[in-house]
């Protein structure tokens, strides 16, 4: 048994380190995969991607919230600041930003932006003074709009045509 004493000690130390490393890295690894999938590997960056209505046929995400219409915009701020514009809407909506490690670092809400909103999002020291700061260059913006019936969805479809997510002109 003696020849295994040192390897067993190594195994325990490595297991503890691997455990801690995986727990800390998991949100970033998962988010990276999600951004790659949503962003089409870089093909669908800086534009709104409108999700279809949630129905019982949706089987990808457990416990989906059927009352929301989702739109996502995957961004890479190393290419420049991001410009986002949403039209005014009297109904409940929120615009949430998630960093590359999955942290929700900013959420803007309808009650604070009754006339709609327009913003710049940037990262790094070269960011324009008027821009909101992201903690990371990679991430995703997510709109949640209340749409509980057909009329609500028709309204959302109208609003989506006015949504803007694009790289700001330099």
């Amino acid at each position: 048994m003696k020849p295994w004493r040192a390897p067993l000690l190594v195994a325990v130390v490595v297991a503890v380190l691997a455990h801690i490393a995986f727990v800390h890295a998991y949100p970033t690894l998962l988010m990276r995969a999600t951004l790659r999938q949503l962003g089409g590997g870089g093909e669908r960056l800086h534009r709104w991607l409108a999700a279809p209505r949630v129905t019982p046929a949706a089987r990808r995400i457990v416990r989906p919230a059927p009352e929301f219409a989702y739109s996502a915009c995957v961004y890479d701020l190393s290419r420049g600041a991001l410009r986002i514009r949403l039209p005014a809407s009297p109904d409940y909506w929120s615009l949430s930003f998630y960093a590359g490690n999955s942290d929700n670092f900013l959420t803007l809400r309808d009650v604070d932006h009754r006339d709609g909103l327009e913003l710049l999002l940037a990262a790094g020291e070269a960011a324009p003074a008027a821009a909101l700061r992201a903690p990371d260059t990679r991430g995703v913006a997510l709109i949640r709009r209340l749409a509980t019936d057909d009329a609500g969805w028709q309204n959302v479809e109208r609003l989506r045509k006015e949504d803007v997510c694009t790289l700001a002109a330099s």
């Binding site: 020849p3 040192a6 297991a15 455990h19 416990r63 059927p66 999955s102 509980t148």
Partner: protein, 187 residues
């Protein structure tokens, strides 16, 4: 007996496998959350201040979730008597004004997806609910609507569960402010 280098190699590979497997198990376990009558809060609602385990669990079970200031999620898998919810039973859910800017109540099947029963009666919400004269409301969780104004169809759910979503919660949660779930009959 393998050589020392091989033994250490095996130890490193085994250690990595054990560490990753135990981490996957640890972030797969859902803590119970706080209980409010039949409801338990979802402890994974997003927060950047959460510890590494909570953040990893949130990523695994609820990536891109709203933060606590924006939404609180509560789940009920049992009635007020503590019995698991069942498709074979009929329930009455009663509530009043809930402490939130807006709320919804959704039924899920045992697989945690919306039930495939063709009725589309899987959710009710604050805006479309029919209330009694005093502002309170009743909903029926059952496989048949009967004469109920508010119906959640439990057909094809097996062991259904409910998610109550409180958007922009206005006050601390109290059990007596949340809907009650009473079993009326079983087949």
């Amino acid at each position: 007996m393998p050589g020392a280098a091989l033994r250490h190699g095996l130890a490193i590979v085994g250690g990595i496998a054990l560490g990753v497997a135990s981490a996957w198990w640890a972030i797969g376990r859902l803590p119970d959350g706080e209980r409010y009558g039949a409801w338990r809060s979802d402890p994974l609602t997003g927060s950047t201040a959460a510890d590494a385990y909570t953040r990893a669990r949130s990523a695994r079970h609820g990536l891109l979730a709203l933060n606590r200031e924006e939404a609180l999620y509560l789940i009920a898998a049992q009635d007020d008597g503590g019995a698991p919810l069942s498709e074979r039973c009929d329930y009455e859910i009663r509530g009043g004004t809930l402490p939130a800017a807006w709320w919804s109540l959704t039924v899920y099947a045992a697989d945690e997806f919306l039930p495939r029963n063709g009725s589309a009666a899987y959710a009710i919400d604050a805006a479309h609910l029919r209330r009694d004269g005093d502002g309170r409301w009743r909903a029926r969780l059952a496989t048949t609507r009967e004469a109920s104004a508010n119906w959640l169809d439990s057909t094809a759910t097996g062991t259904p569960s409910l998610t109550l979503r409180l958007y922009r919660p206005k006050a601390a949660l109290r059990a007596d402010a949340l809907p009650t779930i009473t079993r009326r009959s079983c087949r």
